[in-house]
């Protein structure tokens, strides 16, 4: 494993090691680029993961302070926890469920396809499906995505079988066990899924792709990548020419360090990345770095989500097996006749009893609530994930509150757009109908959890005035400052975002390496 000097100004510094930063670090290292990756969290591997929801949450979740505002229910029920994401080497790729689906072609051009939507700040991505296709293929190969290449699908578990039967009863056609970054057979030195459940708690078999035990060690093995864990970045520095020159961070002992850099790539997720750019304000950049457009922190998207759980008169035992290997894609199309633009996916989901108690109806109590849990064994569940509207006022600003290092924390503001509400209600209705078609005796339209799909707060745009980064994730304002995570999403599409984040990271690595070799960076 490499170690680089703090004064080595030839390195690329990457902040964050998840689906964006972790992949970018490895891809650059494979090309011979020297990389220092700074990760706020610690290092956990499959042997460390815990098959226990709350204990695992304590081990992996980002629990540093955040604040919330807005009319979304999360701000009431989970005021200090706007997101359920991970603070660890590998980031939220330890926690993700593995669903790996490409954007639909039209979703790269949301403004053109949907037209102007009142109250929404829609924009077309500056890239399109044809440009992304080869990068998607590389991402699918890296992640070993089932039902792509020659990889077989996963077998359906009990929860899927209920879901599939209901879907087919409603006439849905695109129903299968998903395109999952979970091995259906041994692949890339990792074993096949053992149907253990607990996908959200880190896969103890390593059957699910996570950067923690694939890209990170692969990058380190090149001798070009140094990962510093428990390194909390405070500020990105720049020189008099307005180029970024390094980063200040608190190391694992709490001491402030400064790492010089040739290029800085921000990949701390859609909360921490804009927070860092805003906290890096200087006399030259008083509104924060890369923020001449005023778009840093704005246009936050979290997908239109929600869940449907239902009770049957016989056992389902939905917790057994893969957490999310099941999908209905028929509603993902853009069909405004349903009363909203964009579309949504329905995906199987289960929670263990402890998390079901926390999330089924947060704040709920009494027999209406407890009789639902009484039939936990007979419960099936699905998750809604649909495209939500970017809105200017939704996003991250600096809070009055400070973290353990004295740095202003992210305040996350969110209000649903009427399109989001119409879509969610449609999805609830369809989900409930699916389960009723299989004989459900009671159904629960469950509100959104703290967000896992956090997108858009440093969005990509053709024109500098519309967004923060260009088609390469390079900031419009500062040539050697990149954004490499989901915050660069122009719009959210209906699909789980990780595959697209990974594809963009592979593509960005290719671009950065070639620009470096041309002497442009």
């Amino acid at each position: 494993m490499a170690t680089f000097d703090l004064n080595d100004d030839s390195v690329v510094v990457i902040i964050g090691t998840g689906a964006g930063g972790g992949v970018l670090a490895n891809e650059l290292a494979q090309k011979g680029v020297k990389v220092v990756a700074l990760e706020a969290g610690g290092r956990y591997l499959p042997e460390d993961y815990i098959n226990d929801e709350w204990e695992s949450f304590g081990q992996l979740a980002w629990l540093d302070a955040r604040t919330t505002s807005g009319t979304w229910r999360v701000a009431k029920d989970f005021a200090g926890l706007p997101a359920w994401i991970v603070k660890a080497v590998g980031g939220t790729t330890t926690h993700w469920a593995g669903a790996s689906i490409r954007f639909q072609d039209h979703e790269w051009k949301a403004l053109t396809t949907y037209g102007t939507v009142e109250g929404a700040n829609l924009l077309d991505w500056p890239i399109d499906a044809a440009e992304m296709a080869p990068w998607y293929e590389k991402a699918e190969t890296k992640l070993g995505v089932t039902r792509t290449g020659d990889r077989a699908g996963l077998p359906g578990n009990n929860n899927y079988k209920v879901f599939e039967k209901g879907a087919k009863a409603l006439g849905y056609k695109e129903v299968h066990t998903g395109r999952m970054a979970i091995n259906s057979a041994d692949y890339d030195g990792r074993m096949a899924c053992q149907q253990t459940g607990f996908c959200f708690q880190g896969c103890k078999w390593g059957a699910k792709w996570s950067a923690a035990y694939t890209d990170i060690p692969a990058g380190e093995a090149t001798g070009n990548l140094e990962v510093r864990d428990r390194a909390h970045v405070a500020r990105i520095l720049h020189n008099d020419a307005g180029k970024v020159s390094g980063v200040e961070y608190f190391d694992k002992d709490g001491n402030l360090q400064m790492q010089k850099a040739r290029i800085v790539c921000v990949a701390g997720n859609s909360f921490e990345s804009p927070r860092l750019l805003l906290n890096s304000a200087s006399s030259m950049f008083p509104d924060g770095l890369a923020n001449s457009s005023g778009m840093v922190g704005r246009n936050y998207m979290r997908h239109t989500t929600g869940s449907v759980y239902a009770i049957f008169d016989k056992p389902v035992r939905m917790w057994r097996g893969t957490t999310m290997a099941g999908i209905v894609q028929d509603e993902a199309r853009h069909d405004p006749s349903r009363g909203f633009v964009g579309g949504y996916e329905l995906e199987t989901l289960s929670l263990g009893l402890p998390f079901m108690a926390a999330f089924l109806n947060p704040g709920g109590w009494g027999r209406s609530f407890t009789t639902a849990l009484d039939h936990y064994e007979n419960m099936a569940g699905m998750w809604i994930v649909g495209e939500d509207m970017p809105q200017l006022q939704n996003g991250v600003t600096l809070s009055e509150a400070k973290d353990q290092f004295g740095l202003p924390v992210a305040n996350v503001h969110f209000d649903d757009h009427p399109n989001d509400i119409a879509m969610r209600n449609h999805a609830y209705k369809q989900g409930i109908a699916m389960y009723e078609a299989v004989g459900a005796t009671r159904a629960f339209p469950t509100p959104p959890y703290p967000s896992t799909h956090n997108l858009g707060t440093n969005r990509m745009s053709e024109r500098p005035e519309d967004g923060v980064v260009n088609r390469w994730g390079q900031s419009h304002d500062i040539a050697n400052l990149f954004v490499s995570d989901g915050s660069q999403f122009t719009t959210g599409a209906a699909e789980n975002p990780t595959l697209t984040i990974v594809a963009l990271a592979i593509r960005q690595a290719d671009h950065i390496a070639s620009e470096m070799s041309r002497g442009n960076l």
């Binding site: 578990n157 097996g321 109590w365 064994e377």
Partner: protein, 174 residues
Amino acid sequence: MEKRVDKDGLTRRALLGRAVAAGALAVMGAGFIAAPDAAWAMEVSVISPDEMATLLQMARDIYPHDQVADAFYAVAVKGYDSEASKDLVAAGVAELNAAAVAQGHADYLSIGWEEDRVKVLQAIEGGVFFQTIRAGLVTGLYNQKEVWPIFGYEGESFSKGGYIDRGFDDINWL
């Protein structure tokens, strides 16, 4: 025994009330409450047995599962018997009993029907006391591994090799 109970401020009415409420609890001494069948007992050292009995009944009324024994609820609320919590508990129980009185009852524990106790709880559900107790129960009750089998939940599965050979797809009624 009567004297020791009196010293703790328990009135005859409260004792009778508790007996009426669920028939579940007996004051065994100044610092104890216990199940009538002696299946479990609980010692309190900071808050009063009456306050603990109230918390226990509250826990049952907030998250009622008739198949879950008192002992599990007792585990979930026993942490309130502490210096850190005693003021919250004293003020909260007083608030709860005042709400009961306002609805024509002697106090919370003396109310025989869950439905009527729920109405009293609804009168205080926006307050800090209720929300603290409720939120604490979400983990305090449902995160007890011993409770999980009552709901059929199987918990950890890695050490058993997951469910690949243990019924991940064994549904047979579809």
